[in-house]
């Protein structure tokens, strides 16, 4: 009798699992799947989107642990795809026949195709772009327009940045190197990293804290505990909406430009839904809504007229033509570089 009850219970569970609607398991960054668009997508296609928030490093670790299973779609940055794909094979090539290419800015599509190529196949479609630069409190730190402000004695205890690879690259530019040219030459890159770490260790008293969480950085800027920070442009613009003194500044060495993409994990279960979501998110009105919400530029062509004017004003204020031309776009990171950088980052954080 008991056995029958157990069996019946198991069967109900199995049936319940099967009866559940079609789902898309999305591994993405916070803010990349606004609730309104998720609901709209479900109404249109009947597919429920299950969102998991992550960042580049954790995304790679998660997919690596399962060899590309567990998610139908991921959103890594374009420079972090080739090395990972070569070594761990966690993605599958994009079938560009299923992408509505007319919706994507052609130059960006081409650039991403080229930068994510492994063995003749491309692994990603561009979704959005933004930059790493400075967020400056203009009242407390007027005129800060260089990455050098992050090591400036003037702002002792009032500086914050993330102890991750962007600060190493930015400081490399500030010290007169071109880190992206050195990517190919590991020895020269190491020499640059040593110089950068020496500079950052010496400038440690200038730092209030190394931020790890975007919201907590914004809180520190808002409360006036931090004057100059290295962070993403959209954070600066969010603060500008509350306090006119705080704004994003594209440093004179050049803001560091990234493009986040759509990439399909190797063992995705529902690739059809993944392609549907990609085309849905790049549709001009949806991309425009995303840009207005998150203040992050989109790869969608023609989204411009769906972007709220005040958000467009942020972009125009932050980037004049010269600043746009000066953006340093991250090229693909070769394998082995991250290990080197990891050690340097540990060394800086451990130093007194």
């Amino acid at each position: 009798m008991k056995k029958i009850v157990v069996l019946a219970a198991l069967l109900t569970f199995a049936l319940a699992a099967m009866a559940q609607a079609e789902t898309l398991k999305l591994l993405t960054w916070k803010g990349y799947a606004p609730e309104e668009l998720v609901n709209k997508f479900q109404k249109e296609t009947g597919i429920t989107v299950e969102v998991t928030y992550s960042n580049n490093e954790e995304m790679i670790a998660k997919l690596r642990a399962t060899r590309g299973a567990g998610f139908d779609l991921a959103q890594p940055s374009q420079d972090r795809i080739t090395a990972v794909q070569e070594e761990f094979k966690v993605y599958q090539p994009i079938d560009f026949a299923k992408i509505d290419a007319a919706q994507v800015i052609p130059s960006m599509l081409e650039a991403v195709k080229k930068n994510t190529q492994v063995a003749g196949k491309s692994y990603a479609v561009p979704f959005c772009w933004g930059t790493d630069g400075l967020i400056v409190n203009g009242e407390k730190a007027p005129g800060a327009d260089s990455y050098k402000a992050l090591i400036d004695e003037k702002y002792k205890g009032r500086v914050s940045y993330r102890m991750k690879r962007p600060i190493l690259v930015a400081m490399g530019f500030a010290l007169g190197y071109n880190p992206f040219d050195l990517y190919k030459d590991k020895k020269a890159y190491k020499a640059m990293l040593d110089k950068v770490s020496e500079t950052l260790i010496k400038a440690k008293p200038v730092v209030q804290n190394y931020w790890a969480n975007g919201d907590s950085l914004l809180e520190s800027m808002r409360s006036g505990e931090v004057f100059v920070a290295m962070a993403w442009d959209n954070g600066g613009w969010k603060l500008h909406a509350e306090n006119k003194a705080i704004d994003f500044v594209a440093p004179k060495e050049g803001a560091l430009g990234w493009i986040d993409t759509f990439a399909i994990p190797a063992k995705a279960e529902n690739t059809a839904a993944a392609y549907k979501w990609i085309n849905f998110m790049l549709r001009p009105e949806n991309a425009g809504y995303f840009t207005t919400q998150e203040k992050t530029g989109t790869a969608s062509a023609g989204a411009g007229k769906f972007v709220a004017p005040e958000v467009q004003a942020d972009f125009d204020r932050g980037f004049d033509q010269a600043a746009i031309d000066n953006i340093k776009w991250y090229p693909p990171v070769p394998a082995g570089l991250e290990e080197m950088e990891g050690q340097v980052l540990d060394k800086i954080k451990a130093a007194k």
Partner: protein, 284 residues
Amino acid sequence: MKGSRLAFAIFLAPVAAWLFLLIVLPHVDLLLMSLRGKDELGERVWTLANYMNFFTEPVYWLTFVRTALYAVITTAITFCIAMPVSFYIAKVARPRVQGALMVLLLLPFWVSELVRVYGWMILLRESGVLNFFLMKLGLTQKPVEMLYTDAAMILGLVYTSMLFMVVPLVSVMDSLDDSLIEAAYDLGAGKWTIWRTIIIPHCKPGITSGAIVVFMLTLGNYLTPNLMGGKNSLWFTEQIYNQFIASFNWNQGSAFGFLLLALSSLIIWLGLKLSRQKLGEVAS
């Protein structure tokens, strides 16, 4: 007889499967991974290099020493605070108050560690609650940065581990016969002598088990040092995380994991030797 053995096996099976599948197997996998590495040509080979790296690169072992040292300090401070608290709960307070006090101790643990740490951050930060009152009372002219220091980090760690020291101490103190303390008073012993010769020796097993739990929890903590410690607070667990997540070097990360396990066991073994105790007695 046979039937009961079968029933025992059936009930044991899930536990055994749990232990084997979720604890033993992953550890074997990690151990194997920690022994793998790349040679100069990029080929994957068996090697001890991951373990050697720990000893040859000062950043790594210094971080471990620092972490272990702070864990010991945290354990000591927790003990000093927990001892009088548990004595009050076990011996001084009336039974009804006892229950209420234990609930008060437990209450903060009903919310997650993350929320508790954020609570402390709101209190201690430069534009935080504490600074606001200090300024209002005119005690300081300028807000003081209290967060992001080693002291703040230890405060957070002690707060997080208090309960794990108090509970074993209360339970051993419950079994201490009050008449022993009264007799000592009658015979003219001072407070300090009573603590030193009666209470502490009696509580030894509780102290040791509490200290082991607190030490291990602190050593393995990731959240509190990371959020409250600030720019100089590299904790060993963070280094393991960095190896896995930031450097993609799972081999090195697993080697660090095993080193953490081995070295912390060694420290506890040393502690037991120094206080002349046996693990079996402590556990009973």
